[in-house]
Amino acid sequence: MMEILEYIGMALILIGGIFLFLGALGLVRMPDLYTRLQAGTKASTLGAMSTVLGVGLLHPDWILKILIIVIFIGVANPLSSHALARASYRKGVIPFSKNNIDKYKKAVKKQIKNLTS
């Protein structure tokens, strides 16, 4: 029983390390700020949660603090990513796009119109 948990934990740690590396690679390779934000935050969140859960499976008596860490990573990291994307859109960073789809622009215009009227 313990050996099976150990193998699953080691597999989770390996998956987490690979996803952390892929997130940092996407941070360098992607063309503009929003795609970089998506690569650098989603992949990093998955990698960190997977690594921490793997350590929790290797040591079953640490599981309480491990679960608290996983929940806080899952809440806090998308929150900071959302705040950054919103701030840089309102500051005027233009998204990189080949087919000109920008649905957030209409929402921002409607919000400003509602505020002024």
Partner: protein, 85 residues
């Protein structure tokens, strides 16, 4: 088992170097704040993994503090960029 830990630590070190590259190069302030966020989350995962290597339960607390407080700085920077602080 040791070879997997070696591979994972090497991947984390390469990830830290890549995000440091983006921090130095990144043209706007959003890129740099995002590199700081990626840096702190890779180091949180590395701290939990090092607690497994050293076999000490007290070391998990440092990673807990990082997971709770790590996003406050990035959110303050984002509010300053937006101009709403």
């Amino acid at each position: 088992m040791t070879i997997i830990l070696t591979i994972v630590f090497t991947l984390m070190a390469i990830g830290l170097i890549l995000s440091m590259f983006r921090f130095v190069k990144g043209p706007r302030s959003g890129d740099r704040a995002m590199a700081l966020d990626t840096f702190s989350i890779i180091i949180t995962a590395a701290m939990v993994l090092l607690a497994h290597v050293f076999e000490r339960y007290i070391y998990v607390d440092v990673a807990l503090i990082y997971a709770v407080l790590g996003f406050v700085g990035v959110i303050v920077i984002a509010r300053y960029i937006e101009g709403a602080l």
